[in-house]
Symmetry: C2
């Protein structure tokens, strides 16, 4: 940390978020105290503030969060910071800045698969503006790490993955500075400084010993440790001046954002929401240079390939590695890009922990998941997202959108792009008819009442493919002389509480929800949570067992969410 | 597939689940048709049945599921089968069988970080009874893979990770058989057969060309392809006899399961539920030799180290690699072990996709997550599980348990171990007083009414740490002359519907839930879904914003789930 902050990095301590500052990500977030100490030494925070560590009124939390101006992404779940650092390094290219990105990892941390996703991805992109460091102290939380101090084990693996691996004594400042300089001079590939260290170096009764992980020194131990360390400090030197961030000539104003050319879908046309997603994403990329897209080798299914065709330089292919796809998006977002990572919605669960961590900083990432629910059909349960609404709703403040047709999908992509914070859009595989006019407006927190009459005896709330099941049930019931209200709850979070309450109170004080999703955490739970204070109950039609392969329509019926089951639920209330 | 099934593997085709059969995992699950064809050729399924592929009435689904007797684990989310194969290979050691485990991966698939978690773990355990194969056809779903046909790129990486890597022409049967034999003779480390192939080999207009992924041949194309392939088939040979599974002398009856010696916790003693979890796990291991434990370097926090001390041979350390920890557990469970993988509950989200896939087969895995909720205190949001109940409830049929004290935790570990199917136990960091007598019974689907009187005007439902907040609120309110019922909903899924309904109807037709968890998918949603049909509404006290570091009690209050807020909610109803 001393070598990096006061011998290598270029930054403006008065402005930790300067867009050309060299960036530092503490991937081993549990070492937060040394991060805070470094920034205090650099003058960004007051040294006296350090004593507020982990207090409820302090932003110096147990692990770093973006509440602090010098923290780009929350860390503390291991193997994530290195993925974010890739996004930060890619961003330097996007804005044509010469800043370098540094990331410090633990050795235990490098057991995470996401670290190897990062390893292959940084090589693939030739990120020579990225330098990572592994603190090889040989001790994990509970025991000696996998490879202990076997530096060759690390070196072989990183070299095989294409990195410039440099082994150094992590307590030798000159060797570290040489390594950082070698990294800065290396072109075409990222560098990894493998620093052999001893935990607790310089404290005789702690150095290199197991059992001290996360334990503060207290009382006599503390006094003795401080005494021993003070005995090793040379005469006080003035810190060398920190070099200013690299300058650049490009114009540094906010990018110009033009109008987005939306696709022109006439009413009744059959369009899958995933197709509309791709089409508008491509147009959005033309209008706004901050928009970037990430894919995990399914661009021809999510239709994000439409963006790639127009904007190949802002399209990042991470191959089948969803963790680094989302992690890089978190890094890109932290530096001003507007990233849209997309894959099958079920495979976003692969990055659930990254999404969770992104949520801690309300990262400005626009997630999209296609192939939602049993409506995908024959590919079977492994490809069906049935828990994604719950996963995304469990991110506080995350906007969750679930359009049913091409027009609403297109407009909601724009709503997501212009919202400040994390959003998720769920798209569907089957083509569905366009039911909204091009002039229709869609807002975060809104809904559409699609069928309404004074004679309605029940309200059915759908979203996505179930909107069409609800409309069909409406038509079937009307032939029996039964009128039901139908709502398209395209904004699942926040949900349109007032419309739901008004409709429920007008139709018997009860709501029927229907969703192509398991019951926990989905549309029904969202609606129920919102309307419970008004004494309104919610009957949830949802998938309640593991589905199987089969034709889409047969699956909707077999798993309880077809127009037939909606009509039955209405009749049972009647 | 031909070389493996009819030239290498030893198995009893009449009994695909024979415990000594060599095992095969199709990690690239999208190639399901070749798996079904191989088993048809082996005589396990009728060839005529193959035409039922992907139909709703057929078990030959789009991707393999354990509905089929020859499928151990569901695949179709890439990078998981290889992790399960590690568990299957470890199981051979556990039951002292000589069976070998094979896993077939795609080349695109090897971009998944979980593959590299598997790579390091198999080496660490020296699994020379494991042989994986990568089908290097160079084409992903949407484009050429990362390394195309650069066989050296694969070879370097696998060698660096300690595997015996063998590069072969994947269309050369003799070379494949030699490679499998070399793998079988290699000791001390796993083998990886890197098979260079061409997609669509032998069909002139498909071979090696992009754009055919997942596309069936139709009409003239189909006829031409069949004609071309038939022209390449030599004279029909009789399949060689498949070698019988390796025999062994060990006694093959069900293991003897003895009584479990539960820890003796007197009422009022302060015990964290995670401590009770560890203590009873160790005792369970003594009673039942099928019980195994997996850890991701937090055994001293989850207390699973108590098991390691008594049963080191059945304790598997995967280091900080949660995906392979859960994946290996799925494999172990598929072959008769009862695995308990545990880590911090928040880090189970790292394996969310593995849990999802395990749920497709209702795997007999006993997950446990410690450090739930804001009650962990100063470590901050990155270490707090606030979505785990929702994630686990979204696995159909998964039992979700959340004990509040040492006695209930101990008894529920036994309930989980003896239940057939996936279970999840949520444990807490803080010590809490023992409130149940050692004689108390706890059942899956049960609950405990802790406070009850005829004068109750409201019912508060808690679980885990919030049970104590509810009890404190009860005491505070009683001083004001207000009586409330208090329920400990220790079984979150299935939930005790009848007790909840009875209590709600006796106390105003309404329930107040309180949970150390975000609102979506948690206790409140579980309760609401269960009682909605009875016209009962649920007010949910839950964490609704990203928390922060601080003392446990201050966090409970600040984020809305303390005794003070419960009392306020009761008064507001009154």
């Amino acid at each position: 940390m001393a070598a990096l902050f006061f011998g290598q990095m270029r930054f403006d301590p008065k402005n930790p978020s300067h867009e050309d500052n060299d960036r530092f990500v503490l991937s081993k977030g549990h070492a937060a105290p040394v991060l805070y100490a470094a920034w205090a030494e650099a003058g960004v925070i007051d040294s006296a503030q350090l004593a507020s560590l982990r207090r409820i009124d302090s932003d110096l939390e147990g692990h770093p969060t973006p509440r602090l101006p010098f923290v780009d992404v929350a860390t503390g779940s291991l193997g994530q910071g290195i993925c974010a650092a890739i996004g930060i390094a890619l961003n330097a290219r996007r804005i044509k800045s010469l800043y370098r990105t540094y990331a410090l990892l633990g050795d235990g941390e490098s057991a995470e698969g996401s670290v190897w996703e990062a390893a292959q991805t940084a090589t693939r992109f030739g990120l020579d503006n990225l330098c990572a460091i592994i603190d090889v102290n040989g001790l994990g939380q509970s025991q000696v790490t996998q490879y202990g101090h076997d530096m060759a084990a690390y070196e072989h693996r990183w070299r095989a993955f294409g990195w410039n691996a440099i082994v150094v004594d992590g307590h030798d400042l000159a060797a570290l500075l040489d390594a950082f300089e070698e990294a800065a001079q290396t072109t075409g590939r990222p560098s990894m400084v493998l620093a052999r260290t001893l935990k607790g170096k310089g404290i005789s009764f702690v150095e290199g010993r197991d059992g001290w992980h996360g334990k503060p020194l207290k009382g006599d131990d503390l006094e003795r440790a401080v005494r021993e360390l003070e005995g090793q400090i040379g005469p006080e030197a003035t810190n060398p001046a920190i070099p200013a961030p690299p300058s650049r000539e490009v114009h540094k104003t906010l990018p110009e954002v033009g109008p987005v050319q939306l696709p022109d879908y006439e009413m009744g046309r059959m369009v899958a929401t995933r197709e509309a997603y791709g089409a508008v994403l491509a147009a959005l990329g033309t209008a706004d240079p901050r928009v970037v897209v990430l894919d995990a080798d399914v661009k021809n299914s999510t239709f994000s390939d439409a963006f790639e065709q127009l904007h190949p330089d802002r399209f990042y292919q991470t191959y089948i590695a969803e963790q680094v796809m989302v992690g890089a998006a978190l890094g890109l977002a932290s530096r001003g890009a507007i990233p849209f990572p997309s894959t099958f919605a079920c495979f976003l669960t692969r990055a659930a922990d990254f999404i969770r961590m992104g949520g801690i900083g309300n990262a400005n990432v626009k997630l999209a998941g296609s192939h939602a629910g049993v409506s995908i059909g024959e590919d079977g349960p492994s490809q069906m997202a049935l828990e994604d609404l719950g996963m995304m709703r469990a991110v506080p403040g995350c906007v969750v959108l679930y359009p049913c047709d091409g027009v609403s999908a297109a407009k909601l992509v724009i709503a997501a792009a212009t919202h400040n914070g994390m959003t998720y859009m769920r798209t569907s595989r089957p083509k569905t008819p366009v039911i909204y006019a091009a002039s229709e407006e869609f807002t975060i927190g809104g809904s559409k009442v699609l069928r309404e009459s004074a004679a309605d005896i029940a309200t059915v709330v759908g979203a996505g493919v179930t909107v069409f099941e609800a409309l069909a049930a409406h038509d079937d019931l009307r032939e029996e002389g039964v009128n039901v209200r139908v709502i398209d709850a395209y904004s699942v979070q926040p949900i349109d509480e007032s419309t739901l309450v008004r409709s429920a109170l007008a139709t018997g004080g009860h709501l029927i929800t229907v969703e192509d999703h398991y019951a926990p955490g989905g549309l029904g739970d969202a609606v129920s949570d919102a309307v419970a204070p008004y004494g309104i109950t919610v009957e949830r039609l949802a998938v309640r067992e593991v589905p199987r392969s089969g034709p889409s329509a047969e699956l909707l019926d077999r798993f309880g969410i077809s127009s037939r089951q909606i009509a039955t639920a209405v009749r049972d209330r009647n």
